[in-house]
């Protein structure tokens, strides 16, 4: 499920050769992108040594509010399309650059003995609130599977779900695949039908960018093969 409104404009090597970009580049990215974007920023800086990338990570809705109120952002990478939509005209031609799928996280040792989506109905399960992206996705997944889960709590974000699971407070919860990379206190079960409920990440340079050229270049880099490879390394799916 990719969107092809934008195409990679230049290969990384080309950019490096011609690089006349400089200055500071403020990248506002969803918190779940932090690890991946740190790596991308490093790579990007290697190619554009005069550009200093300053990533700012927070919840997408917080970031979009700030952008609308004049935050000095050049690039906005949202964790969902709804928040990118809120940015409206402030974002120039948003492009999808990654996707993420839900997994069932259970505490190490799986005390609730969860194996399938159906098992969630019988154990303490926490979900994201339906208003937030991960909650909407979880609901979609459960509905598709025909499972009704009485959530013990409707968490505000994925981290809260993870925390509850890691603390064995809940026996299971839906989180994104990328959230559990490298955690040894959590076990992951990939539920059936997860691939049908995919969350897409859009990115865009911003109309008010103080450094529009670099912003455009950064967006291009994320969408380039090099960028995509890094994202894949951090568990993100193809856009």
């Amino acid at each position: 499920a990719g969107a092809a409104e934008s195409s990679p404009s230049a290969s990384p090597s080309e950019t490096a050769a011609e690089s006349t970009l400089s200055g500071e580049l403020n990248v506002y990215a969803a918190a779940s992108l932090s690890a991946a974007f740190d790596a991308i920023a490093e790579e990007f800086t290697a190619e554009n040594p005069e550009v200093k990338v300053s990533p700012v990570y927070d919840g997408s809705s917080t970031l979009v509010t700030q952008i609308l109120e004049g935050a000095p952002a050049d690039v906005f990478a949202s964790a969902d399309e709804a928040n990118m939509d809120k940015a409206g005209d402030a974002a120039i031609d948003p492009a999808l650059f990654a996707s993420n799928t839900l997994v069932i996280a259970v505490p190490a040792g799986n005390p609730g003995d969860v194996k399938t989506l159906a098992d969630l109905a019988g154990v303490t399960t926490v979900l994201c609130a339906p208003e937030v992206p991960c909650g909407a996705a979880s609901a979609k997944l459960l509905t598709a599977a025909g499972v009704t889960v009485e959530a013990a709590s409707l968490e505000q974000n994925v981290t809260a779900v993870l925390t509850k699971v890691a603390a064995s407070e809940a026996d299971a919860g839906f989180v994104y695949a990328t959230d559990v990379i490298g955690r040894d206190d959590i076990e992951v079960i990939v539920p059936e039908g997860a691939d049908d409920v995919v969350n897409h990440y859009p990115i865009a340079a911003l109309a008010d960018a103080a450094n529009p050229d670099a912003a455009e270049a950064f967006v291009a880099f994320v969408l380039s093969d090099a960028g995509q490879k890094i994202l894949a390394d951090f568990g993100f799916g193809k856009p």
């Binding site: 919840g59 809705s61 509010t65 969902d80 709804a82 928040n83 939509d85 505490p107 303490t124 926490v126 609130a129 208003e131 937030v132 992206p133 909407a136 959530a151 013990a152 709590s153 409707l154 968490e155 505000q156 974000n157 809260a160 925390t163 509850k164 603390a167 064995s168 407070e169």
Partner: protein, 262 residues
Amino acid sequence: MSPGGARGYAPRALAVPAAVGLIFLILPLAALVARVQWSTFLADVTSEAALSALALSLSTGLIATVLCIIVGVPLALYIARSGPRLAAGLRAAVTVPLVLPPMVGGVALLYLFGRAGWLGGIGLSFSTPAVVLAQTFVALPFLVLAVEGAVRTSGVDHERTAAALGASRWTILRRITLPLAAPGIVAGVVLCFARAIGEFGATALFAGNRPGVTQTMPLAIYTAFNGAGVSQGAAAALSLLLLVTAIAVLLLVRGWRPGAAR
């Protein structure tokens, strides 16, 4: 009380920074109110979710405040009457939950009372008592420090006089110490209640966000704010609702206007 006397002799020029402070506190609120979508305001604040969150906030906030008073006033008295070294240590301990970002406080509570925690047996998770506990944890320091300051300021002379008249320790507490420190205690209770009712981070992590059970007003506001596709008007409306209610409660509490003395 002569007016001149009761007002003391603060320099008049202080009115300037005082006004600056007041304006600084009020202006953002005005900006917030200006952004409320009045078209959906009524619907927003009378939605069942909003009202149940409000009811939950008020009830848990009040219970937490009462709990804070029960354990906090004794703790404040104890610190106020300790020597300087012990008092400094105790104050530092009390300051801890204040400095901790509430979110971390919530995690700490989870580690303590969670299923896998040291006191996991209590089975508090995802329940209303967990909300109260989270609020108590973050609000208690405010009560303790404010009350301690007031008790220390009011001194022990009147307590000694009461003891010399044969009053028991409990009588002294009830009729002398607490009434004399009343302005400070009122301040402490206000701080405590306000902090409890506005508490978000610790509650979100420790108690979770279950409508009707643990979804307090701040959680509802946060949800509204983060809700995809929803404008922030609802969040502003809910904030206003919380604000007005909290202040109404505070104004209703009789002690809130301590006057000079009864």
